[in-house]
Symmetry: C2
Subunit: 253 residues, 2 copies
Amino acid sequence: MSETSARVWTAALIVIGDEILSGRTQDANIAYLAKWLNVQGIRLKAARVVPDEMGAIAEAVNALKPPAHDYLFTTGGIGPTHDDITVDAIAAALGVPVVMHPEAEAALRAYYGDRITDARLRMARVPQGADLIPNPVSGAPGIRLGEIFIMAGVPKITQGMLAGLEGKLRGGRPVLSRSVGAWIGESAVAELLRDTERAFEDVQIGSYPFWREGRVGANFVVRSPDPRALAACAEALMTGLRAAGVEPVDGEI
Amino acid sequence: MSETSARVWTAALIVIGDEILSGRTQDANIAYLAKWLNVQGIRLKAARVVPDEMGAIAEAVNALKPPAHDYLFTTGGIGPTHDDITVDAIAAALGVPVVMHPEAEAALRAYYGDRITDARLRMARVPQGADLIPNPVSGAPGIRLGEIFIMAGVPKITQGMLAGLEGKLRGGRPVLSRSVGAWIGESAVAELLRDTERAFEDVQIGSYPFWREGRVGANFVVRSPDPRALAACAEALMTGLRAAGVEPVDGEI
């Protein structure tokens, strides 16, 4: 039995932020990452929520980083303010210095233009040796250091960063996707999307709304490593959209 | 400086359940417990999500139990099925045997009557030396072992158990409450409740719907350790209810 076929690849997540532990913000990243990892063929085995404190972050990183799990994700604490200490805490835990990443700095300067500040440039600081994870939503990139992924805390941004990692993790199954477009607002079909996703194993439905030619629409991207589940889920979604009174397009609009 | 006035009392939470780590269920207990603890004057400092595995549960219990934190809460894994192993894992971690609790057994027999089964009687098993936490929603009680609180995973049940612990934790501030009743369905004012709660620090609003004399109504219980925040929040809630077209009652209906 070869290692690659039998072994279960695992991941851990550290959710960083006082706002989650105070109850002010309801975490959405644990559930989203869990489903995203399932689709990649990787299993989330542990999640911890820690406060914005160097010691607590570093302790969790040391407990959960490879080889404890194949992958470690963190969300939160990579913004421009004084309490955004994730990069420093992870660098300290790993014993590497923090450096400015030239590409991140260029991306931030391009995004903010005249509005660039020292605080915003903080978001170009990375543990030495890190690569960037593109951020399709705002200017500040995520950070990849080997098998450690340092992501934003805002769910929409986290999800955008994960979309860029789709199918790229070693050990994961190849992910198939299929798009269904419709001229309908995503909020009108939020329950349909949720129920359709729940009805199938290892399937995730992403919703990408747009506004074009004065009309709202959305592309729904069904993802799964299983071609049969993918086809069945896409069919169920199209049937559901028709029942909701809109004729879907089989493919992206 | 006396210990009781200066010291920050802390708590940790272990969320137990494969369904959270698979993304199938969105956790709601971290945020609810965090807010509930704030109202008691206790700070949630750590939360972990662990799978339904003896080793993972026991490791988290040993890391987070007193004296690491003043209080440890767990949610999940105390139901009747084979994967409900929280009691066994905690007992193993603490090195105490699992025993049948006579009161819990009596409560389960009273609740289920003829429908009692061996599986349901599993829910009367507790680590030796434990007391029960009343469950106002269904038959199976929670379990208190010193400063460790073993709670249900279903949010409505967890919340009912927490209501019974209100103001009873050593180190917590005394909690004040005030009821506002209204003949309106809680779903019609869900956003009002949420926004009103958010507008005040250290205030929590519980919603207790009822159906009486053929009409729906609800009592909203505002809780806070701060009498001024309590009064201001209750006033804001009554103003909001009037704006929603219903005349509130200052007190319980």
